[in-house]
């Protein structure tokens, strides 16, 4: 059971996860990661843009690979686009698996791939100017862990 979505408005990861866990009551392990807009560095807002024909299919592909690679009973992958304020959730990935290690690795794998391979472009509003976020070398190092 998978649920992959691009969201254009604010969402509550905890009510989403509560529902996910009800569906996967008998899975031994549920791992979840929620990424939020950081409040540091004077960031007033974050804007995520995407490209409809590529972004969602790209997320679906990451999900398929994770389901194939790890022994999962469920995978949830939600990603915001648009404008967000500090403290708002950007991304939520949750995995249900018979064993802890599988659920952990699946979430880690999906996050690494979402961060470095999914078609998202970010800019931050700081001091009333928008600044594009560049790719990071660390992200590519993270991706290599799964080769």
């Amino acid at each position: 059971m998978r649920d992959v979505q691009l969201l254009h408005t604010a969402f509550d990861p905890h009510s989403v996860n509560a529902e996910f866990s009800v569906r996967h009551k008998l899975a031994g392990g549920l791992c979840s990661f929620v990424g939020q807009v950081r409040g540091e560095g004077g960031v007033q807002a974050l804007e995520l843009s995407h490209y409809e024909p590529l972004t969602l299919p790209g997320m679906q592909e990451i999900a398929s690979r994770a389901i194939e690679r790890f022994d999962l009973s469920g995978l949830l992958m939600l990603h915001r686009v648009g404008r967000m304020c500090p403290g708002e959730p950007i991304v939520c990935v949750s995995a249900a698996a018979p064993h802890r290690r599988g659920s952990f690795e699946a979430v880690d794998y999906c996050m690494d791939h979402l961060k470095s391979a999914a078609w998202f472009w970010k800019r931050e509003l700081r001091g009333d100017d928008w600044h594009w976020i560049e790719p990071r070398a660390q992200d590519h190092a993270d991706l290599k862990r799964w080769k």
Partner: protein
């Protein structure tokens, strides 16, 4: 209909506008001719990818957009 060209992420800023429509067909050589010298340099960089009709091209020089296609110019995705 023609061919719609979309500039994504920071390339939208560079271009001053995030899309333009040109007559079909559109190949790689003509795309490089149409854009500004600054955008041309970006397009020629290995960091920038091209998608045509929803598929990312393995080789940008293979671009062959026909009437109704959307061409997307994709800069590297942002860091985590």
């Amino acid at each position: 209909m023609g061919v719609r060209i979309l500039f994504l992420g920071p390339l939208a800023d560079l271009n001053g506008r995030n899309e333009l429509t040109v007559t079909a067909p559109l190949d790689w050589t003509r795309l490089l001719d149409i854009v500004s010298p600054e955008m041309k340099a970006q397009l020629e960089s290995d960091r920038v990818r091209i998608a045509c009709a929803g598929k990312v091209l393995v080789h940008k020089a293979d671009l062959q957009a026909v009437d109704g296609d959307e061409v997307a110019v994709l800069p590297p995705v942002s860091g985590g």
